[in-house]
């Protein structure tokens, strides 16, 4: 039981990995493209948590972790914005959110 109450590096890494697995599951099982993009964002947040955890426990100054985290966040948000614009341009009706129907249209 002591493992659960001494909060340390391991706990944050477990949180990060569970979050990553949740995002991966969302990417794999969801048919809605918008939810897939959101799941990618979940995975990105898990990466940021990993960076900050290592920065906090191994570096203490957090400068490097902050820089890398902000960079990762910027890239993720740009990626999501571009993905949204492309999705919107592919089809602006309600169907465009369904990946299976979009695949059928392309074929």
């Amino acid at each position: 039981m002591n493992v659960f109450f001494n909060i340390g590096l391991l706990h944050y890494l477990v949180l990060s990995f569970l979050l990553f697995l949740t995002g991966l599951l969302g990417v794999l099982i969801s048919r809605n493209m918008l939810r897939v993009l959101m799941s990618v964002l979940i995975m990105t947040i898990s990466v940021v948590i990993n960076f900050l955890t290592f920065g906090f426990y191994c570096d203490r100054s957090l400068e490097n972790a902050n820089i890398i985290s902000v960079l990762v966040l910027i890239i993720a948000v740009i990626q999501i914005f571009i993905g949204l614009v492309i999705l919107y341009k592919i089809n602006s009706s309600n169907e465009f959110l369904d990946s299976e129907k979009t695949k059928d249209k392309e074929s």
Partner: protein, 171 residues
Amino acid sequence: MESNIIYFYSVFFLILGSAAGIIFSPKMYMSLLSLFVLFCSSSALYFGFGANYTAIFQLILCGIVLSGYLFLLLKKIGTMDLKLKLNSVGKIIVSSMTVAVLGVLFLLFFVEEFENSLYEVFNFVQEKSFDAINFVANIFPLHLVIIFVFVSAIVLRVFLSGLNPNNEEQN
């Protein structure tokens, strides 16, 4: 000490719950709300680390700008009430098994190797990349990134609409 434990576990379950909410919520607007909660709760976690800059940055860029943009987009195309659609049962089972195998591998790795190798690996990476990180810290140009965002948005607009900006003026 106790407050630290309560803080960690409340944030832990808030983050995982909102992540699950994004994927499994029955309507689209609930998913968007879960995304917003995820941003807020993860920012609270960053505040706990003392990474205030990242936390505020994420709150503004993701929590306000991205969530607001998604809200407006969903409202514009009328998909706020879109129902949850998942893949076929076979794909869900295979995906879940893949994720479960990854999880088991991760747990085995931590149980067997955590105290032996993880710190060593991290220290090795940190030593080798220390110069590179310093270099990035010195030249990291936020304003250049913002300019690149605008340039890529303009290029994308031109590319997707099949026009160049001058054509519009001529028309």
